[in-house]
């Protein structure tokens, strides 16, 4: 089996808590790198999001820097106002137009993760109030990656997981608390 190299997480409304919960369940032994597109407004959170998330996890959390590295066991967050993409195992940023009314957009991140990592990618769609991420998760599925959607009933806002479920039949639909254990297990089994 091919080892998973990257976990891409997308979240919007309610995401601070949800992403934090997933990251809290991962530790330094986690062998994949993690990239996160959380919808955010640069004016509001001026650099606070990485700090808030870092408090909840043993993993190193940073904001994506131009051509910065993606390393196993570390978390790279899309900066406010930029799309985060991946290329040659490093970060690429773009400030092109909003996609699904968002920059960062989850679709943009997931589509580039699908292209770059194919079956070595895992995509996770969490809580949110819009359909961003659905097309991207479908791209990850098409390229043979593993897909996870938060159970809409346990999501603070269910629109985003519902849109993802309408676009793909994921490998797992899980309540929030069970997502991190699932990721650990899937990655360990494939390694």
């Amino acid at each position: 089996m091919t080892a998973y190299e990257i976990v891409a997480i997308g979240a919007s409304w309610g995401g601070l808590h949800a992403v934090g919960t997933v990251l809290a369940g991962l530790d330094g032994s986690f062998g994949a790198s993690v990239v996160v597109a959380q919808h955010r407004d640069g004016h509001d959170d001026q650099g606070l999001l990485p700090e808030l998330l870092a408090r909840r996890t043993a993993l190193r959390v940073t904001e994506g820097e131009d051509k910065g590295p993606l390393a196993p066991g570390s978390v790279v967050l899309a900066p406010a106002g930029y799309h985060l993409l991946v290329e040659d195992r490093s970060v690429e940023l773009s400030c092109e137009d909003l996609v699904q009314f968002s920059r960062p957009s989850i679709d943009v991140l997931f589509e580039s993760v699908a292209e770059e990592y194919g079956e070595r990618a895992i995509g996770v769609v969490l809580t949110g109030a819009n359909p961003d991420g659905a097309a991207g998760l479908a791209a990850i599925a098409r390229r043979g990656g593993h897909t996870v959607v938060q159970d809409p009933q346990t999501a603070e806002r269910s629109e985003m997981p519902r849109a993802a479920l309408a676009a793909v039949t994921p490998d797992a639909v899980l309540p929030l608390e069970r997502i991190a254990p699932h990721l650990r297990r899937v990655c360990a089994e494939a390694a």
Binding site: G64, D66, K67, E87
Partner: protein, 273 residues
């Protein structure tokens, strides 16, 4: 992505074709977002593959025009990243003041919002008549708009807010007049500015500058092209000249040693010798 991936080959061939046919060199651009935009153009032209897009681009200059518009991402704002302009007032203005006359290069100025923001900061420091700004971009269309200095009025609310956060004194509205949904900035702001075409991937140094502002342009370049641009900046910068990059960019190796960090957060660097 593997080097033998068919799509990677198609991208390489398309960019090579664009370069040889139209002399625009995108070969050194970062590939992930480039691929995205190539695909968007392919869909809109009804091409099923990037090879199909290549066919159209090579045989129809109108398609090339549209592709060029897609590839030059012009998203910008006035006082984007207000903290940057605050630090400009605090740390760069005093440096510029030490020169009897200063030249500033705003590279990748897009439609000019950044250039007018710089001009306002310089005007408020009383320096505007002691500087010349060279604002350049590879895209002629955006330069034409920049020269006019008119921006959509409905954006001024957000720009005004940015301006306040950037340490603006009073209302920004005193710099523009309004008509037909447009805010047109005072001529006095752009009098000392030259808007000109310059391609960072292809053109040479053209003057010596005390300050170079190049924000959110090199994020679209792969490392080797970024290195070329940093060579170009060194060739264009006076001793102790300042370079300003975007929030998420840094001076790339092996050029870091040539600069002192003037402000780590706002990505301001000062040439050592």
């Amino acid at each position: 992505m593997n080097p033998d991936d068919p799509e990677r080959i198609e991208v390489d061939l398309l960019l090579e074709g664009v370069y040889r046919r139209y002399s625009y060199d995108f070969r050194g651009y970062a590939r992930a977002s480039l691929r995205r935009r190539l695909w968007r153009r392919a869909h809109e032209e009804g091409a099923k593959t990037l090879s199909g897009l290549q066919d159209r681009v090579l045989h129809d200059p109108a398609v090339m025009d549209r592709l060029l518009r897609d590839l030059s991402i012009n998203v910008t704002e006035m006082f984007r990243d207000p903290g940057f302009f605050r630090i400009m007032r605090e740390k760069v203005v005093p440096i510029l003041r030490t020169y009897p006359y200063a030249r500033i290069w705003n590279a990748g100025c897009s439609t000019g919002e950044e250039t007018y923001s710089l001009a306002i900061v310089l005007a408020e420091a009383g320096l505007l008549d002691r500087v010349r700004i060279y604002a350049t971009d590879m895209n002629d269309d955006v330069l034409a708009r920049a020269r006019q200095g008119s921006f959509a009025l409905d954006k001024m609310g957000r720009y005004e807010e940015n301006y306040q956060r950037a340490g603006g004194a009073g209302d920004m509205s005193r710099y523009f007049s309004t008509q037909d949904g447009q805010a047109t900035f005072a001529r006095s702001l752009s009098q000392g500015t030259v808007f000109a075409q310059h391609n960072l991937a292809q053109d040479a140094a053209f003057n010596e500058f005390h300050l170079i502002v190049c924000r959110n342009v090199m994020i679209y370049f792969a490392r080797p092209l970024q290195e070329r641009v940093h060579e170009l900046f060194l060739a264009s910068l006076v001793r102790f000249g300042v370079v300003a990059l975007g929030h998420k960019e840094s001076i790339v190796a092996p050029f870091e040693d040539r600069y002192d960090v003037l402000d780590a957060g706002e990505k301001l660097y000062r040439r050592k010798r």
